[in-house]
């Protein structure tokens, strides 16, 4: 069955990159379209299904995806669809879409190919930390296998043609997900985010919008796709993200040196609430987990790893939570279950230097 084990989560979010406490993961996404076939948004359902039936068997058998799984969005229940969204394997837009849309995923979830999202094909490779080069290698290899088999819409001057002109050219969107709570606590986040926009990079909150995005997770990606090659786009992104990581690191160290009470209060308060709350909404949960994540990174918390925090941040979301419970639950009921799950999972966690109470 699809996405059943929690072990998968750990593998995918494992923080084995150098700056993984700040740069969580990175992703390369390539948009490709078939020549002479209407693009998904303008095609009718029959055409979309034809494209799906053409691409999906090949992706399952010939694409070299290890233990590939296929999810046809039209035939999934709502909970599974939500889970796929929460794992960034399909987009929200795509989750709404019926027959003809789907995703083929490798067993480790690091490589996925979406069919009939905004474009016929979206190849997506995810790697931990800032290992964009590895993500590119993986996505590119899939692209090369695909182009031997299928003819892509390509224009001599404009490059790969995509449904939205904003993706034309390389069709590549490279991104890094960063955790920026230190900058938020020192009130420097807005300035940093604004500076990024000026560098023609796109920043969006992974959960929600702007600098108040739940969990303080941000995805930074290249805005332009036409006029620079893939390597240049990725180098530019890595340069800037490297700088952001550096600023976040400094903000954390400054907090620790100049206002340790602020830092400790943020972490201790989050832990106390998690360990006693009986009702908790998703965004609230993500914010407290974000604080614990910072706490682990600063050595303030014991018996917890960043990989655990990241796994839990996935499992408190509505789709994962309901799958865990095995039933569809009303939001109010979910909030109770979520609080229970968090208390349960984080019961052994203690602040460093505090008396252990179990």
């Amino acid at each position: 069955m699809l996405l059943r084990s929690a072990a998968n989560t750990r593998r995918r979010t494992a923080s084995d990159g150098g700056a993984a406490d700040i740069a969580v993961s990175c992703r390369v996404r390539l948009a490709r379209n078939l020549r002479c076939v209407r693009f998904p948004d303008w095609a009718d359902e029959k055409e979309r299904c034809r494209v799906f039936d053409l691409l999906s068997p090949w992706l399952m058998k010939e694409a070299g995806l290890f233990h590939a799984t296929i999810a046809a969005v039209g035939s999934l229940d709502e909970i599974t669809r939500a889970m796929l969204c929460e794992r960034h394997l399909i987009s929200r837009e795509m989750a709404e879409r019926g027959p003809g849309a789907g995703v083929v995923v490798g067993a480790d979830e690091r490589l996925a190919v979406m069919i009939n999202e905004e474009d016929h094909l979206r190849i997506q490779a995810i790697m931990p930390g800032m290992e964009l080069a590895r993500a590119w290698a993986s996505a590119n290899a899939m692209d090369l296998r695909l182009e031997e088999q299928f003819e892509f819409a390509f224009h001599n001057r404009l490059g790969y043609l995509t449904a939205c002109p904003s993706n034309v050219g390389t069709g590549m969107r490279a991104s890094v997900m960063v955790h920026l709570l230190g900058l938020r606590l020192s009130n420097d986040l807005d300035a940093v985010l604004r500076a990024l926009e000026r560098l023609r990079l796109t920043v969006r909150g992974v959960n929600g919008e702007g600098s108040e995005a739940a969990g303080h997770m941000f995805q930074i990606s290249n805005q332009e796709t036409l006029g620079s090659d893939e390597t240049a786009l990725m180098d530019n992104l890595l340069d800037v993200v490297g700088d952001v990581v550096h600023q976040e690191r400094n903000a954390r160290l400054r907090l620790q040196r100049d206002s340790p009470a602020v830092l400790l209060d943020c972490v201790a308060r989050a832990l106390a609430i998690i360990q006693s709350a009986r009702i908790m909404e998703t965004e609230e949960a993500l914010d407290y987990l974000s604080a614990l994540r910072l706490g682990v990174s600063m050595g303030l918390v014991r018996r917890l790893t960043i990989a655990h925090v990241d796994a839990l941040a996935l499992h408190v979301q509505p789709g994962h939570l309901q799958r865990r419970m095995g039933v569809a639950l009303e939001p109010a009921r979910r909030d109770v279950m979520r609080a229970n799950l968090m208390r349960e999972m984080l019961r052994p966690v203690v602040l460093r230097g505090m008396k252990e109470t179990i």
């Binding site: 209407r38 948004d41 303008w42 001599n156 404009l158 490059g159 050219g169 796709t225 006029g227 090659d229």
Partner: protein, 166 residues
Amino acid sequence: MKCELCKQKEAAAAIKQVVDGEERELFVCPTCAQRAAGPMVTSLVEMLLGAAMDVQLPEFDTVVCPGCGLPRAEFRKRGRVGCATCYETFAREITPMLRDMHSGDHHVGKVPAREQLNRTRAELEAALKKSIRSQRYEDAAVLRDRIRQLEAGAAKAPPGEKHAAS
């Protein structure tokens, strides 16, 4: 998109106009479209009834993408194309969009192997024609061989290294 005549209001219609002796399509606002259509022939009855105050614009814009049937108005509304051919059909709209979105105007980067092969072949064939025209038959023979090699190679194994850096 702004009206190409007054450059102030939003363009809502396409009209044909002779500019520098060449018929060209212009995207204009309703006011400019009416002005361009010449003096309105309105009957006294219409004026008295007030109908002339409320002139319906004729349907100027009937452009539809031959590749996918997407009407131009629909493309404007969505901001997304319906197929690859739309990039030719709506080039006039898409070119300024691309200028706003990207700092470059042509693709640099990876090219599909098939495309790379076509490019090389086209270059060789052009050179071949030139050498035949100028009666350099030895050159032509060499070029012919290279084209043959290219075709044989393409049939055997697809090239592995395709990430052209520029």
